[in-house]
Symmetry: C2
Subunit: 623 residues, 2 copies
C-alpha cells in the first residue's frame, strides 16, 4: 500500500472553502464525515468522500481540513491502515488514546478567533451537529451548513450515484403487504400523536415497500426516502426504476386505489424542498416523527416545536420482529448456506494439506458454493477468511499483501454470509485441518461454552440483550480470558446483516428488549495476538420458552439456532464441558444431520454429506 498523494486535492479543497460560488462566507475548516445521507454502515463509491480526499478507506473515520492542517480521526482497528494510506499532509488522530483531542477540542485549538466550520448538512446526523455546534459556539466559532458538498466540487471523476433495478418481494417472502405495513405504521403514529413520519434509513424504506435493490454492496437497498402522512405516501427515488411495469404493479401505481394508499413518486433530490413544504404547512397539533440520527438538513426542515425524535423508529422496531414468512425464509436461507459451507469445509479438508489454498482462494470458494444455491443474490459482507495470526485481527479481510496459505498447522477462522432472496446469513466457524494443540482446544472450548450459555439461556420477556452478554464470557473469565467485542447484533431478513434495535453487548445500553421473532447473532470469541483467532457464530431466533413456573405471568424466551453448520468436534476438549453443554452440542449436531443432511441428499452432494455425518458424530464425556 502506498499512500495517496493529496497535496493538490487539499489545495483545491482549501480554494473552494473560500469560493463564494460554494460558500456564503469563507469557512476556515471543513468536516468530511464517513457516512452517507442515510447514515448507512456500508456506503456506495460515490459517497466515499473521506477516502477520496485522504486515501484512507477504512469503514470509520472523520477528516477535518483547515487552512493549515488536515487531520483524520479513526479508531484502533484502523491506526495501521490509515497510517499506510495517508501521505504526510495528514495527521492521524488515534481515537481512544488518552492524549488524542476530540474533533471539537482540536478545532478550538487550531482555529483563529471567530471561525466558521463547514459541513454538508445532509451527511451529518442531527445529534452530532448539535453536540459539535454547541462546543464550537461556546469557544466563539460557528458550525455552518454548506449546501453544496465541497468534496464533490473537486471530485471530477466521482462515480455516479447507483440506480440499479429493484427486486420486488411478494407475500411469500414478506408475510405482510406494504399496504398493511403502512396501516400498522399509521396506527403507531396515531398512538404517539404524530401526523408525519420521515423514513431516512435505506433499509427502512426497502422494508416498508417490500422492495430490495443493489445500490450498495452487501446491503440489498436502494437510494430513496419516504414521507408518510396519515393520508399520503411520498416516495423519493430516482431513475427509470419506476418505469418498470412490475414495480408499478407492485406499488399499484396505476391502480385506482383509496387516496391514502396512493404513492406519489418524486425525485430523490426533492426530499428537502418537499419536507420544507410539509414543515411550513403544519398546523399547531401536528408532529413529525424522525430518527434522531436523521441528517441535520432534514431535521431542520421541520420547525423544532413540531419535531418528534426517537433513537429507534417504529419501522426499525417492527422490522426487527420477523413474522412467520420471514422466519421460514430465514430458515431456508440458513439451510442452503449450511449446504454451501459443508461443501466448502469438505473441499478444504482435501485441499488444505496440498498447500495451495490461500485465504482469498478459500473465500472465493465459499462464495462459489453459496452462489450455486437457489435465490442467492450476493454476499452479506466482505468475507473474513483468516488463518493463524491473521485470525487474531478481528476485522480482517484478506488482501494480496496479507494473503496467507491455509495449513494443517494453523487454526482457520471463516466469518462469512450471504444474501438470499429469502434471508440473510452470517456464520463463523473455526477449524483446524491438522491436530490442534491442547491450549487451542482449551480456548475453543471456553468460547463454545460461552456460545452455548447464550444460545441456551432462558430469560424473562422484556429482557434486554445486553443483560445476556456476560453469559458468553463467564467461562473465559474464569480462566482470566476475554474478548474485546460485543457478543451479537440484530440481523435483517434479506436486508442489512447488522440492524438495530437489539443486540447482545456489554456496550449496548440503548437496545430495545428482546421479543419472540427477533433474530440476533451469538458470536463470542478469543484472540491471541500474533497466534490465532477463535470465534463461533450462529444466527439465532428469539422464541418463547416453556418453563416450570411463570413469574407474574411474564412468560420466558430463549433462542433457536438458525445456523446449522457443524462445530468442529476435533477442537473441543470434551472434559471441559458439563453434561448439559455436551448434550447441547449433540442435539445441535443431530439437527444439522437431519435438516442439512436431507438437503445435501436432495441436492446430491454426497461427499459433503459424508463430511457432515462424520463431523456430527456425538461427543461422549468421560464418566
Amino acid at each position: 500500500m502506498s499512500p495517496k498523494i493529496t497535496t493538490e486535492l487539499l489545495k483545491q479543497l482549501r480554494q473552494v472553502m473560500k469560493n463564494p460560488r460554494y460558500v456564503q462566507e469563507p469557512v476556515q475548516a471543513y468536516i468530511v464525515p464517513s457516512g452517507d445521507a442515510h447514515q448507512s454502515e456500508y456506503i456506495a463509491p460515490c459517497d466515499c468522500r473521506r477516502a477520496f480526499i485522504s486515501g484512507f478507506d477504512g469503514s470509520a473515520g472523520t477528516a477535518i481540513v483547515t487552512e493549515q492542517h488536515a487531520a483524520m480521526w479513526t479508531d484502533g482497528r484502523y491506526f495501521l491502515q490509515a497510517a499506510h494510506q495517508m501521505d504526510s499532509n495528514w495527521t492521524l488522530m488515534k481515537m481512544g488514546l488518552k492524549d488524542t483531542p476530540t474533533q471539537e477540542d482540536w478545532l478550538v485549538s487550531v482555529l483563529p478567533e471567530g471561525s466558521k466550520v463547514g459541513v454538508d448538512p445532509f451527511i451529518i446526523p442531527a445529534d452530532q451537529w448539535k453536540r459539535m455546534s454547541k462546543a464550537l459556539r461556546s469557544a466563539g466559532h460557528d458550525l455552518v451548513p454548506v449546501k453544496e458538498n465541497l468534496i464533490n466540487t473537486i471530485w471530477t471523476d466521482c462515480p455516479q450515484r447507483p440506480c440499479k433495478p429493484l427486486i420486488m418481494l411478494d407475500l411469500s417472502y414478506t408475510g405482510v403487504s406494504w399496504r398493511d405495513k403502512i396501516v400498522a405504521l399509521r396506527s403507531k403514529m396515531a398512538e404517539r400523536k404524530v401526523t408525519w413520519f420521515v423514513v431516512t434509513a435505506l433499509d427502512e424504506v426497502a422494508w416498508l415497500f417490500n422492495l430490495r435493490g443493489s445500490d450498495v454492496e452487501y446491503n440489498p437497498v436502494f437510494f430513496a426516502y419516504a414521507v408518510i402522512g396519515m393520508n399520503t405516501i411520498r416516495l423519493f427515488i430516482d431513475g427509470d426504476r419506476m418505469m418498470d411495469p412490475a414495480v408499478r404493479e407492485h406499488l399499484q401505481l396505476d391502480s385506482t386505489l383509496e387516496p391514502e394508499f396512493k404513492i406519489q413518486v418524486m425525485p430523490y433530490g426533492s426530499i428537502l424542498s418537499e419536507l420544507q413544504a410539509v414543515g411550513a404547512g403544519l398546523s399547531p397539533k401536528e408532529k413529525v416523527w424522525l430518527s434522531d440520527k436523521a441528517s441535520y438538513a432534514l431535521t431542520e426542515a421541520i420547525p423544532k416545536a413540531y419535531r418528534y425524535l426517537t433513537p429507534y423508529t417504529p419501522i426499525c422496531i417492527a422490522k426487527a420482529v420477523k413474522n412467520a414468512a420471514e422466519t421460514e425464509g430465514m430458515r431456508r436461507a440458513h439451510i442452503k448456506d449450511a449446504v454451501a459451507l459443508c461443501e466448502l469445509f469438505s473441499w478444504l479438508e482435501k485441499e488444505v494439506p496440498k498447500g495451495t489454498v490461500t485465504e482469498i482462494v478459500a473465500a472465493d470458494k465459499a462464495e462459489e458454493f453459496r452462489s450455486q444455491q437457489k435465490d442467492f443474490v450476493e454476499l452479506s459482507f466482505a468475507t473474513i477468511s483468516s488463518t493463524g495470526p491473521n485470525g487474531a485481527i478481528i476485522h480482517y479481510k484478506p488482501v494480496p499483501e496479507t494473503n496467507r496459505t491455509l495449513s494443517v498447522n494453523e487454526i482457520y477462522l471463516l466469518d462469512s454470509g450471504a444474501q438470499y432472496k429469502d434471508g440473510t446469513t452470517d456464520v463463523t466457524r473455526t477449524m483446524h485441518f491438522g491436530t490442534p494443540s491442547a491450549y487451542e482446544k482449551e480456548c475453543f472450548t471456553y468460547v463454545l461454552k460461552g456460545h452455548i450459555a447464550v444460545s441456551a439461556a432462558i430469560f424473562p420477556n422484556g429482557t434486554k440483550g445486553h443483560l445476556l452478554d456476560s453469559f458468553a464470557r463467564s467461562a473465559l473469565w474464569d480462566c482470566g480470558l476475554d474478548y474485546l467485542h460485543g457478543t451479537g447484533h440484530g440481523v435483517g431478513s434479506f436486508l442489512n446483516v447488522h440492524e438495530g434495535p437489539c443486540g447482545i453487548s456489554y456496550k449496548t445500553f440503548a437496545d430495545e428488549p428482546l421479543e419472540a421473532g427477533m433474530i440476533v447473532s451469538d458470536e463470542p470469541g478469543y484472540y491471541e495476538d500474533g497466534s490465532f483467532g477463535i470465534r463461533i457464530e450462529n444466527v439465532v431466533l428469539v422464541i418463547p420458552a416453556e418453563t416450570k413456573y411463570n413469574f407474574k405471568n411474564r412468560g420466558s424466551l430463549t433462542f433457536e439456532p438458525l445456523t446449522l453448520v457443524p462445530i468442529q468436534t476435533k477442537m473441543i476438549d470434551v472434559n471441559l464441558l458439563t453434561e448439559k453443554e455436551c448434550n447441547w452440542v449433540n442435539e445441535y449436531h443431530q439437527r444439522c444431520r437431519e435438516v442439512v443432511g436431507a438437503e445435501l441428499e436432495r441436492q446430491g452432494r454426497h461427499e459433503a454429506l459424508r463430511w457432515l455425518l462424520r463431523e456430527t458424530e456425538p461427543l461422549a464425556r468421560a464418566q
Copy 2:
C-alpha cells in the same frame, strides 16, 4: 393508620405561597421534594417536610401543592401506605403506571398561563432543577427558587436540626489521616485542573475528616459542608461540637499547621454566601468541582463557566475503595455481627415453637444481641423482620398493625445490620423453624445458586457491577422465576449502608468499575405474593483473583464474603446444586465454623456455638 388531616395546613401553605414576606411574586404551585439539602437517603425529622404537609412518610415521594390541588408522586412500594396516610385533599400519583402523568406534565395541565412554580433551591438537586425548569419554560411557566422554605414557615413545632456530639476515628479505624485524604483529594483536583472542591454529601464530609456523628438515624453522619481549595479548607458545621477539645485535637484546630492544612470552621448556614464569595473571586483558569446532585442553590453560586460537575465525586470514588485498616475493621464487625445472629437464631429455634415471638420481638432481640458486641453504635437501617406473607413485601418493616407471630409453619426472613465503630453490616437470612415444603426449598435453592454465582464469579479488572447482575438470576430464569430488585449495593465502612458508586443491578448503568477493596452486597431473592419471601444476602469484598491465564495483563477480580452467618441447610435441595456449588456452601460453612466459632468460644456463648456447629454440617450430594 388514620390519615393526617391537612385541610388547615394546606390553607396556610397556600397563603404563604402568595405572601410577599416569603415570595417575591406569588407562586401558583409549590414543590415539596423528599430529600434534605445533602440529597441524603435517610433524613432527619426536621427535614421530613413532605411527611409534615401530607402525612405520607414513606422514604420516596414528591408533593406538589397548587391553589386548587395537592398531589403526591410515589412508587409502587408505597401506593397502599400513601393512600392510607393521606386525606382526601390529596391525589395519589402512582409512578410507573402508564396513565400517571409526570410532575411536569401534570403541572402544565393544571396551571393557569404564565405560572410561577416555587421550590426550595437548597432541596432540589441541580440536575432535577434543570429538567423541570426546561419542561415548564417550554410550556410558558417558570420554575423559581423560593429562598425561605415555605413548609418551615407554617411548621410551628418543627424539630430542631440535630447537632449531636462527634465521634473521632483514629488511624487504627481509618487507615489514612484526614490530612493525607486532603492531599490525595488535591492531587485528583490538580489532575482535572480544578482549584476548588465542594463537599455536599454528608457521608463524604464525615469520611474526609475521619469524623462520625448521629444527626441522622442509622447513618453515622452530621450536618456539615466543606469547601476544599488548593490552600484552604473550610468546614461548615454548627453547634458547640467544635468546642470539644478532643475534636479540636483531632482536627488540629489549635496547632501551628502549614496554612494549607489549617481548617477554618464556619457556621453551617454560611455555606451559600461563602461559596458565592468563592464564585465571585474566581480567575479565568479556575474551576469548581461539584457533584451533579448538589443542590441548585449551591450549584448556582458558581458561575456556569467555572463549574465542573460529575456524577461521582473523587471522595465518593476514594471512599468506596476500602484500605487495609477499613477492611480489617469490616471483617471484625462482621464476625461480631455473626455472633449476634448465631445467638438470635439459636434463641429463635427454642422460642418460636412456643408461639410467643412476633416480628417485632425478633427484631428487638436481634438489636439486643448486637448491642452486646464491642463498638456497637446503632442499627444500620430499620430491621426487616418478616414472616410468611409479610416476607413478600420487599421493603417491609414490622409495625403493631402488621406484626405477625413467627411459627414453625412459615418462612422467616430477617434483613438487618448494624453500625459498629469498626464497620457496617447488612445481612439477610431466610429460615424455617419447622419443615419447609419441597417448593419452598426449590425456590430457596435457586436463590442460593444465584447468590453463589455472583459470589464466586471471576471477572476482569474494570468490569462494572451491572454486568454481573444476570448471574444472580440465571437459575431462577431457567424455571421462569425472577425478583424485581437489584442484586447489590455498595456498603460504607462505619458509614451509610447504601453508598455509591458501585453496585450490582440490571438498572445501574452509571456505576463505576469494581476494583479490589470495594465492598458490595450480594442479595438475590424470590418473593411469592401472599405466601413468602426468600432473600440470601452477604456483604462481600472485591479481591484479586488468581487465574490460569491473564488476558492483556488486565488481572481478574472475585469476591470474598465478609458476612459469616450459616445459610440454613434445611432449606437447600442439595440435588439441585452442582458439585461446585455444593463445595462453595461447605467451604463457606467451614469458614463460619472456624472464624465465628472461635469468637463464640472466646465470648463463652456455648449454646450459640453448638447451634453454629450443627448448622454448618457439610452437605452431601447424591452420587
